[in-house]
Symmetry: C2
Subunit: 246 residues, 2 copies
């Protein structure tokens, strides 16, 4: 139990040794979710390390989401995040997907505005030069936790006044008979920037799942271009694969 914060000695860099000890203590339950760690200065004193080295050991664990630091308060073992499993075969919106699971969800709108289309947006939506687009940036919440950042772009003809749109973009589109029936989605992993981490209440550098989606109408026209950033620790995307023709 208290062999975690004793003088370090052993193989490899000192910060790695301490880091491994804390990690093991959490994994083996000797440090439980919500437990507070000794103050950095005290860990330094007990281990015989400098505070800089102690902070380096802790920093990685914070980035991985195992520890949480609160300025003025202390360092704590993070409560494990409930993971959501999101299906990847059906085309649904965030709010519809959460509702299907019996989960609350809400959007915090960061910005909603119109402007000229950027080259990338023209390409994705099949717009001509000088056409206007509407952009909505939102933080998606569920269970009292920010789950994803979302930036949706639509032609201004579809959504002339983005600030007037209510909670669900898909409800808006359905009401206007512009509901997409098909989408192509690309996913990759990125490190969160400081600004992104702040909005998602995570540590800068933590892993996030970046998803770009272009949704199409029955006629084949693109109607929505959305770039999302999901918490890497809260989401599993599930997909079913079938044997190909090869």
């Amino acid at each position: 139990m208290d062999d975690v914060f004793t003088p370090v000695a052993g193989a490899g860099p000192l910060y790695a040794v301490l880091q491994g000890r804390i990690e093991a203590a959490i994994r083996e339950g000797r440090l439980k979710p919500g437990d507070s760690l000794p103050a950095e200065r005290e860990i330094a004193a007990r281990t015989g390390l400098s505070r800089v080295t102690v902070r380096r050991a802790i920093a990685d664990l914070v980035r991985q989401g195992l520890l949480v630091q609160r300025r003025g308060s202390g360092t704590y073992v993070a409560r494990p995040v409930e993971r959501f499993e999101m299906g990847l075969s059906q085309l649904t919106s965030f709010s519809a997907d959460m509702a299907r699971r019996g989960r609350d969800s809400c959007s915090q709108i960061l910005s909603a505005a119109t402007g000229p289309a950027a080259p990338e947006e023209m390409m994705a939506l099949g717009l001509g030069a000088a056409e206007q687009v509407a952009r909505i940036e939102r933080v998606r919440w569920s269970g009292g936790m920010p789950m994803a950042l979302e930036r949706s772009v639509l032609s201004a003809e579809v959504l002339p006044d983005p600030s007037a749109m209510g909670g669900s973009l898909y409800a808006y589109l359905r009401a206007r008979d512009l509901l997409p029936v098909r989408a192509v989605q690309r996913m990759s992993a990125v490190n969160l920037t400081a600004a992104e981490a702040d909005l998602l209440q995570m540590a800068p550098g933590a892993a996030g799942l970046k998803i770009e989606r272009v949704a199409y109408l029955p006629g084949g026209n693109a109607v929505e271009f959305t770039r999302s950033l999901f918490r890497g620790d809260a989401y599993d995307f599930a997909v079913e694969l079938k044997a190909g023709d090869a």
Copy 2:
């Protein structure tokens, strides 16, 4: 051009200011791929910062893959990684997928052994207690770059001697008429551990795409349980969504 490494002043932490400058210089092409940065000590001298602060600014950029550091040599602007787009609707193996793109690929086998099944493996493969499994850990290479870590687990009845298996697991299975036709795959984003980063030649803490896959035979029995870790900067997984029944 050389306004990057001048005395810093401005808003926010000093390391963030310097970091932003370097990032902007790379994005705007003032620093090109392959360019070397001044030595840390020289940056410190020119900016008026301490070396610790300079290192902190650089560390994040290394994690994001924008910079590469080589001990004894220097710090360089990273060459952008060619991204692979991987389809997510067809069930293929890594080597087959690369071949379809006209890419070379090879496996570096880290370990191949048999042993008693862990609970998680029993669950995934539908095995009884005390059954044996074969495990293969590989690094997947393509284009002279490590692309993914892969740990495949199969029943020892299917693969009694994992060390005798050749290059492609799926070729082996096809030869024995045990080729899976269906798979369920779960994806999420994680930060690479030091060991994982080392094998993938990335920085510790960089973002990786974790994929767990269970593949099934026509009869419905699970035959393969694979956990992979792909470079977050080299992969895009693409999937097509269709409107649901809702």
